[in-house]
C-alpha cells in the first residue's frame, strides 16, 4: 500500500449515475488484485473530511493505470466527478484482501448488481488468466445500466443479464437461474458483492449446493488499514460472533460467515 498522487486520464459518464475514472498511477497499478480497493481523498479541503473507499474496477500494470467505476451520490463522489483530465487524485492503496481463486477450479459463478459490478469485473479477468470460466448474472434497473458486461465478455465470461425493467431481476427468478446454471455447468464457487438480498440468496444457494463462496462487503470507513475498528461487521466463526474489519480482514469474506446480510 502506498499513498500516491495519480493523474486523471479519463473521467466520463457511462450512464446517468455512474462515472468511469482512469488514473495514471504506476507506483500502485502493479500491486492491484481483484476485490481490493483504494481509499481516495476527493478534495484537499475538510468537507468532506474522510477518504472514500472505491473498488478497483480495472488495473493495468503495463500502462500504469487504475480504473474506478463509481456512482455519483454524495459530497465525496460529486467532487470526484468534477475532476478533469490531468487533475491529480490522491490514492491510498491498494488495500484489503481481494478474492481468492483456487487454481483447481474450472468455473465460477458471479452475481452482481449496482457498484458490485465494479468490484467483480476484474475477477473475471483474473479467472481467465487462471483458465477459469466465469458465468455471470448481472442485475440492473435497465439493460443500459449493466455496466461491466462488455468488459466481462471481453474476458471470456458468459453473461446473463436480468433487469427490473423486464422483471427478470426478481429474486425468485434469479434463484431459479442460479439453480439452473449450477445444474448445467460444473460451478466450483460463487461470488457476489454488496446487496443484502443477493448475499442472502447466494448464501442459501451455496449451502444447498455445498459450494464455497465469497462476498465483497461495504462499510463506512475511517483509516481503511485496520487501525480504527470503524468498519467492522459481525461474522460467525466457529459458531461464535466476531467483529471483523471490512478494510483489513476483508472486504472479501467467506459467504458462509456473513451474519448481517
Amino acid at each position: 500500500m502506498k499513498q500516491v498522487l495519480g493523474r486523471v486520464l479519463q473521467n466520463e459518464w457511462v450512464n446517468e449515475r455512474y462515472k468511469h475514472m482512469v488514473v495514471y498511477a504506476p507506483e500502485v497499478a502493479a500491486a492491484c488484485m481483484p476485490g481490493q480497493f483504494f481509499h481516495i481523498r476527493c478534495d484537499d479541503q475538510f468537507t468532506p473530511l474522510l477518504r472514500r473507499p472505491m473498488s478497483i474496477y480495472q488495473y493495468n500494470a503495463d500502462y500504469g493505470e487504475v480504473h474506478f467505476l463509481y456512482s455519483v451520490k454524495g459530497n465525496g463522489t460529486t467532487l470526484l466527478a468534477e475532476k478533469k483530465i490531468d487533475d491529480l487524485v490522491d490514492l491510498f492503496g491498494p488495500l484489503g484482501k481481494g478474492f481468492q481463486l483456487d487454481p483447481h477450479w474450472r468455473s465460477i459463478l458471479v452475481v452482481a448488481r449496482g457498484v458490485g459490478l465494479a468490484t467483480l469485473a476484474p475477477l473475471t479477468r483474473l479467472a481467465a488468466k487462471h483458465g477459469i470460466q466465469t458465468h455471470a448474472i448481472l442485475s440492473a434497473r435497465t439493460a443500459e445500466d449493466v455496466l461491466s458486461r462488455a468488459y466481462m465478455e471481453a474476458n471470456g465470461a458468459y453473461v446473463n443479464v436480468v433487469t427490473d425493467a423486464d422483471g427478470s431481476s426478481d429474486m425468485h427468478h434469479v434463484e431459479a437461474l442460479l439453480h439452473n446454471l449450477i445444474k448445467e455447468t460444473p460451478i466450483d464457487a460463487l461470488f457476489t458483492c454488496g446487496s443484502r438480498r443477493l448475499t442472502n440468496l447466494l448464501r442459501r444457494v451455496a449451502l444447498e449446493h455445498k459450494l464455497p463462496g465469497q462476498v465483497a462487503l461495504e462499510e463506512n470507513m475511517g483509516c481503511a488499514i485496520g487501525m480504527c475498528f470503524c468498519c467492522v461487521k459481525p461474522f460467525l466463526k466457529d459458531g461464535k460472533q466476531v467483529n471483523l474489519r471490512v478494510c483489513a480482514d476483508g472486504p472479501v469474506f467467506d459467504l458462509q460467515e456473513v451474519m448481517e446480510a
Binding site: F46, L49, L50, N220, M221, G222, C223, G226, C230, V232
Partner: protein
C-alpha cells in the same frame, strides 16, 4: 538535520519530538506506511481487562470537518495485548504508551499494575471515553471521580501516568487539577465530544450506538481553549489532542500551553500526516529562532487582549 532540539519531557519520560498518535487511531498497521520510530511515541488503542466486541455497526459517520465514531472498545483483552502487541513494538526505537480503560477504579489499578512491564514507557489512563459509561457519562466529567480513579492507578505503577480527560465537562480545569493532585504526570486534553447524527430519510441515527464521539478539525477551537485554560493552572505538562491536521495546528496547541500533541482523525485523512507535522514544527522553530521546542510552550501573548 537542523539546530532545533525537539525533545520534550512528560514526567520522567523524554520523547524525541512532541508528536504522537491518539489512542484508537493508530496500530501496528501504520508501520507498513512509514517508519513509526520517527514519532515522539506510539500510543495504543485503549486496552480493557477482558475481550470485548465493541459497539454495533455502523460505527462511523462523517460530519462537517469532523467524524463521529462509536467503536466502543473492541479489544482482545489485556492478556492478548501483553502477548502480542507489546512484543511487536520492541522492534522499534520508540517509546510505547499504553492506553488503559476499565469500568471500576479497582480494575483500572489492576490493569496498570499488570502493564507495568519492560517495553512500556508510560500509561495513558482513558477515563474519558464517552461510549462506555451510562448515557455518555465518564469519570472525567467529575473532579472527585477523577481523583479517585487516578489515586488508585497511581498506587499500582511507577510508570509515568498520562490522564486523558473528556471535553464533555463544564470545568476542565477542576478536573485537570484533580488528576494532577492525585498523581498524574501529565493530563491529555481531550477525548471526543459526545455527539450524534441522523439520516433524515430513514430517521435512524447514523451510528448503531445512537451517539458517538466527535473528532477532527471541527472540535479544535474548543479543545484549544481547554488546553489554554488548563495549562495556565497546572504544574504538570498538558498534552493537546483535538483536530490537529497540520504543523500550524500543532503549533497553536504548543503556544496555547501544550507540551506535546496527539494526532487522531488526521491520520485517516493523511496516513503519514504526523511526519509532515513533525517536519513543519521543526521548520517553524528554525524560522523563529526557537532552539528548544519547549521554549515555545505556553507563549501565547495576551498582552493586547482584554481578558474574558
Amino acid at each position: 538535520m537542523t539546530n532545533v532540539d525537539l525533545h520534550v519531557k512528560i514526567g520522567s519520560l523524554t520523547i524525541k519530538n512532541p508528536v504522537m498518535p491518539a489512542s484508537g487511531t493508530f496500530s501496528e498497521d501504520l508501520a507498513n506506511v512509514f517508519d513509526i520510530s520517527r514519532l515522539g511515541a506510539v500510543v495504543t488503542k485503549s486496552v480493557v481487562p477482558d475481550a470485548r466486541l465493541g459497539n454495533p455497526s455502523p460505527r462511523a459517520a462523517e460530519t462537517a470537518a469532523g467524524m463521529l465514531n462509536a467503536v466502543g472498545i473492541q479489544s482482545k483483552g489485556v492478556d492478548a495485548f501483553i502477548a502480542h502487541t507489546i512484543p511487536f513494538y520492541r522492534n522499534f526505537d520508540v517509546p510505547l504508551v499504553v492506553s488503559i480503560s476499565a469500568e471500576t477504579a479497582d480494575r483500572f489499578a489492576e490493569m496498570a499494575g499488570r502493564l507495568t512491564l519492560n517495553g512500556v514507557s508510560a500509561l495513558e489512563v482513558n477515563i474519558s471515553c464517552p461510549n462506555l459509561e451510562d448515557n455518555g457519562r465518564s469519570y472525567a466529567m467529575d473532579p472527585a471521580q477523577t481523583e479517585r480513579v487516578v489515586t488508585a492507578v497511581r498506587r499500582t505503577t511507577p510508570l509515568p501516568l498520562i490522564v486523558k480527560l473528556t471535553p464533555n465537562t463544564n470545568d476542565i480545569v477542576d478536573v485537570a487539577l484533580a488528576a494532577e493532585s492525585a498523581g498524574a504526570d501529565a493530563v491529555l486534553i481531550a477525548n471526543t465530544f459526545l455527539a450524534m447524527a441522523i439520516d433524515i430519510e430513514t430517521r435512524r441515527p447514523k451510528l448503531g450506538n445512537i451517539m458517538g464521539g466527535l473528532s477532527g478539525p471541527a472540535i479544535k477551537p474548543i479543545v484549544l481553549r481547554m488546553v489554554y485554560q488548563a495549562a495556565r493552572r497546572l504544574h504538570v505538562p498538558v498534552i493537546g489532542c483535538g483536530g490537529i491536521c497540520s504543523a500550524e495546528d500543532a503549533l497553536e496547541y504548543l503556544i496555547a500551553g501544550a507540551t506535546a500533541v496527539q494526532v487522531g482523525t488526521y491520520t485517516f485523512v493523511q496516513p503519514s500526516g504526523m511526519l509532515d507535522i513533525i517536519d513543519g514544527i521543526e521548520r517553524y522553530a528554525e524560522r523563529h529562532g526557537v532552539t528548544q521546542i519547549g521554549d515555545l510552550v505556553n507563549t501565547v501573548d495576551v498582552s493586547q487582549c482584554v481578558s474574558l
